[in-house]
Every structure is written in C-alpha cells, then in structure tokens.
Amino acid sequence: MKVSLDGAGLTGGAPRPDAGAGVRPVGPAPAGLDALGVCAWFGQTQVLDDVSLSVPPATVTALIGPSGCGKSTFLRILNRMHESTDGAQMAGEVFLNGEDIYGPGHRLTDVRKQIGMVFQKPNPFPSMSIADNVTAGLGLTNTKVSRSDRVDLIEECLTRAGLWSEVKDRLDRPGSALSGGQQQRLCIARSLAVRPKVLLMDEPCSALDPTSTRRIEDTIAELQDDVTIVIVTHNMQQATRVSQRAAFFLAEPGSLGGIVEQGDTVDLFEHPRDERTSDYVNGRFG
C-alpha cells in the first residue's frame, strides 16, 4: 500500500482546514469516539458493567478514579487491546466516527492503527534507533514511504511530540538511551507516525518526574487539535490541567466498575453532582 503522506492522510479522513502552518498536521481529522454499554470480563470475573462514554473529536478526556476500578481495561477496550489478554471478553459497542470498531467489517489491525496507544511504562523498541522507532509503525503495518517523506515524517512527529530539539543531532542513537521522559515522548511520536485519529494514553506520566510530566502535558495540549485524546490518570491536578472533559470511574465494594459521573472537567471538579465524586476529587478517599 503506497500512501501519500501529505494531504488526505492514511485513512482518508477530511484534510484539516488549517493545515499548513509550520509542522502542523497532515493526518486525518480527529474523530469522535462513543462507547455504549461496555462490559468487560477477565475469565469469569466481570470488571466493568454497562459503561457508556462519549468522547467528542479534538478534545482531551481524562479518566480518573482509584486503582482497580477498570479505567485501564476500559481504555484497552477502546482500541481492541483488551481482547489480546488471555480469557478477556467484552460486551457493548464502540463507535469511531459512527462505525462500530468491533463490527465484522473492521480489521483489528486497522482499528489499532486509527486508535493509537501510549502505555504507562515507556517502551521504545530497544533494537531500533530513535529515527527507526518513530517510523516503526510504518514498517509494522506495511506502509511504504519514500526516503524523503520518511525524513520529513520523523521531524514532524518528533516536533509534535516535543522531542525534536533534544534528539535532532542523535537520531541514529538507540531509543533506549534516552531518559524516561524522552522515551515516553518518543513513544508518543511513534504513535503519531501512523496518523491515528484518536490517541489513548494509559497513565503516561506515572513513571516520570515532574519536569518530564510537564513536557508531556505540554505535548498533549499541542496535540489536541489534531488528535482526540483519552488519558487515564491518577493525578487529579493533571486531569484539570490537560482535559476538557472527565469521567470518574469507581468500583465500590460489592459492585462492578463503572462511570459514576462524566462531564466537563471544570464542572466535575468544582461542582460534582455525586457525593462520591466530590469525596474523590477533594482527596477524601482513593
């Protein structure tokens, strides 16, 4: 598959109207994501029950809540990573721009290409250089690009991930020689290179120091016009800093994990409708 990297992008979405400024975007328009009635099981154990969440395009949505309430599981359902765990099952529907990604017409690999993921622990490929890490997704998905397009793509993705100025002189050095925060931004650049419409982030800063965390948050802020972002975080200040919308997950003793409350981040934090949300965001438990 030969794909033009300028203009329409990998998946045929509409080109962005404001494209063209600096290293700005080239990819498809960010897409909305709607989860309806999602349930999840590991073996016989149900961990999520009837979770519905609407993620508007070009926004950052934060999933907050105590450990073990199913936030990460929910996130992994959104790009079909959940089913790669042994014994994991799900129910419900997830719509990407109105199409069910679990529908029969969707290839698993295409879904994951359109909905990228950044993990808690930075995981650059140790056998590849920084540059090769960025373009790893192209080789892994059999997307061919010309040499000059590849060079441009590396610069663009690293710039968007806020890493270009730090690594531009050592692109052929191993990716694992970078610091933890740089590795995480390299992983973000790697995800961006396959032009996702949505980027899922599973506690991307929990293994990083405050400075690196700050850099990642800046990166998120710069990306949000081009990519829809869903981020799981344990850090409530971070949720207020980076997100416009938030969903509070909770698994109370004796009940299954689910969303207690969702809405605008400011509303959720300042005027929570549910007492449990209020307790959580004010640090009274969890």
Binding site: F119, N123, F125, P126, L140, T141, P174
Partner: protein, 366 residues
C-alpha cells in the same frame, strides 16, 4: 589496626569538626594486610613442609596441598585476628578461600590449553600441517609431510550445513513455543528439553539407520551434518526460547497497538530485541556440534584425502582426525592429533570472540 582517621575532637564552641576531603578508603587492603597474607602463605608452606615431610613422613602431592591449605587458614586467621575484629577475620578467610577456588578453575583450564598446545607444538610449526591433507602419508611419516587441511575443511563444511539447517528450525521452534503458544507447545517443549540431553551417538545412529540404511545415502559429510543438526536444533530452540521469553511484553503490546499483526511483531520487534540471546543460542549449538566425534565416526568415517563435496565420499573432521590419529599409538600421529586439537580449540575460541563482538555491537542499541 591502622587508624586512617583520628576521632573528631570535641570543641568547646560548637564549630563543626573539619573532616578530610579525600575519599575514604572503606575496603582498604593496606601493605600490612598484604604482608600478613603473603607471610601466612609462606609460613604455612614452611610449617607443612617440615611437619608433613620430615616429622610424619607423609607423601603425596594432594595431601600436601590440602594440609598446606588447612595450615594457611589457621595461620592467616590467627594473624588477621590479632589486629582486626571478627567480621574482618571472617571476610579475609572467605575471600582467600574464594580466590583459591577461582585459581583452581583457571589453573585447570589454562593447564589443559597449555598442555594441548605444548604437545601439538611440533606439528603446528610446519606450514604443510595447515595446507596439506594426509592422502598417501603414513601415520609414521615425519611432520614435514601431510597435514590436516582436509579435516579443517570437513569440519567447516559439516558444521556450516548443520548450522544453516538448525538456525531456522531452532528459532522457528522457539517462536512456536513462546509466541504462537499453540496447543502442541507443551509437547514440543518436553521433546525439546529431553532432546537437549540426547547423547550424540544416538543422533548418529538415528541418521545411520534412517538415511544410510533405509534411504541408501552413502556415508558422507551430509549425513554428518544431518545428525549434527539433530543435536543442534533442540539447543537453539531451548536457549532461543529463554531469549525470546525475556523480551518485555510491553514491546509486543506497543507493536500491536501500532496496528501490527502478530507475525510482523515477531519478525520486526521480538526477534531483533532478542538478537543477543539468539546469537548466544547459536554459538552454544555450534560449540556442541563442532566437537562431536561419534557422529562423523558413524555417519562418514575417517578419510585421509581432501573432499569438498558433502554429498559424496567420506569427509573427515577435526574431532574424528584427533580420535583416529590418537588411536594409532604412533608418537608422530599423536603429535598431529594434539596439533589438530589446538586448531579445533582456536576455532572455537575465535567463534566465541566473534560472537561476543557481534552481540556487543548489537547490545550497544540497548
């Protein structure tokens, strides 16, 4: 005990005491300590020399060495305990014992290498030893005639074919066990594990019965390679499985989250990440294959002439040459055997060094 630092003096005014800005020597081993160690070695030697040989009239080198060691421990322990607290005495005694143990290992290895080179030296100095074969040369002929080129070439060809066959099969098996994890992987693992311990002679007999008797293949280098591969595949599979299993699961997840198929993930992420381990697995297998003697003996048989063709005529190899030359009981043939053993050892060493180099080059990417 030497006191390196004087105790801080207590000043009337609460000025903090000045401490030296030089690095503290926490595990120092002063010249006094060195004298104590060397002196104890000599003292115990003298003690045992007098006691063992002249008072009790014992004999035997091993007994002497053991007594020397026991005497050393007693003397050294006593000397050290004069000036040091108990933890240091224990540490010194254990350290000296560990040094002794590693010295024994190094000595055993070095003496083997030196012995082989020393015995084979007279053959190695002749150029014809490396450039001629033994065709028409009798075992009693002087060392200026004949050589082992045919055995070197035979070893290289046989091991080369066996490696070319074993690497894809072995790594394929390892991938099946760790990545595919199919229904049969438990069975495969059991078979592989038991086959790593397979005596080479059984592999040789297996090939002899199946390929040579049943299928009418003649005794050739190819048959040797086939039997070698039987012993090498399980080694590569077993060591390769370990190498693949330590590849972090996060890398596989990262790859599939980018939209890669399982197959692409294995080829582009898992195998390259495990490259160092896979090279080591291959080296282990080659090291086993290159030294096999029973297999060429059964599947090819010794020959004295050069043969570049693995599909026809017997093909000699270094271990087989060593074996046949040594069993002639002719002193010149035995010298040739030791010369060939030196060559074999050097080849294995070169292989290990090359592999280390390759792995380090790859490892720089880590």
């Amino acid at each position: 005990m030497t006191t390196l630092y004087s105790l801080p003096e207590v000043h009337e005014d609460d000025a903090p005491p000045q401490r030296p800005r030089t690095p503290r020597r926490i595990r120092s081993f002063s010249s006094e300590d060195r004298f104590a160690a060397v002196g104890s070695v000599l003292a115990s030697l003298a003690l045992v020399y007098v006691g063992y040989l002249h008072i009790f009239y014992f004999s035997g080198l091993l007994g002497f060495l053991i007594c020397w060691y026991v005497a050393f421990i007693v003397v050294y322990g006593t000397v050290v305990s004069v000036a040091n607290p108990r933890p240091i005495v224990v540490e010194r005694l254990v350290t000296s014992t560990l040094y002794l143990a590693s010295a024994i290992v190094v000595l055993a290895l070095a003496s083997t290498v030196v012995y082989i080179f020393a015995k084979g030296w007279r053959a190695l100095v002749h150029v014809n030893f490396f450039t001629h074969d033994m065709a028409g040369v009798s075992p009693t002929a002087p060392l200026t005639q004949g050589g082992i080129l045919h055995a070197i070439v035979g070893t290289v060809i046989e091991v080369g074919i066996a490696v070319a066959v074993s690497i894809p099969l072995g790594i394929g098996t390892a991938v099946y066990m760790t990545e595919v994890r199919g229904r049969g992987s438990k069975l495969v693992r059991t078979v592989v594990e038991s086959m790593t311990a397979l005596p080479e002679i059984l592999a040789g007999l297996f090939v002899y019965v199946v390929l040579i008797i049943e299928f009418g293949l003649s005794k050739t280098g190819l048959a040797v390679s086939a039997a070698m591969a039987v012993t090498m595949v399980p080694i590569i599979a077993r060591a390769g499985e370990v190498a693949l299993r330590v590849v972090p699961g996060g890398l596989r997840e990262a790859s599939s989250a980018l939209g890669a198929t399982h197959w692409k993930t294995v080829i582009r992420v898992v195998l390259p990440s495990a490259a160092a381990g896979l090279v080591t697995a291959t080296i282990l297998a080659i090291a086993r294959g290159i030294g096999e003697t029973a297999i060429p003996l059964i599947c090819s048989g010794a020959s004295s002439f050069m043969n570049y063709n693995p599909t026809q005529e017997p093909m000699n190899s270094l271990p087989l040459f060593i074996y046949t030359a040594y069993t002639t009981h002719e002193s010149l043939a035995i010298t040739r055997a030791f010369g060939a053993a030196s060559v074999l050892m050097t080849m294995v060493l070169a292989l290990f060094v090359t592999a280390r180099f390759l792995v380090r080059d790859r490892g720089a990417r880590r």
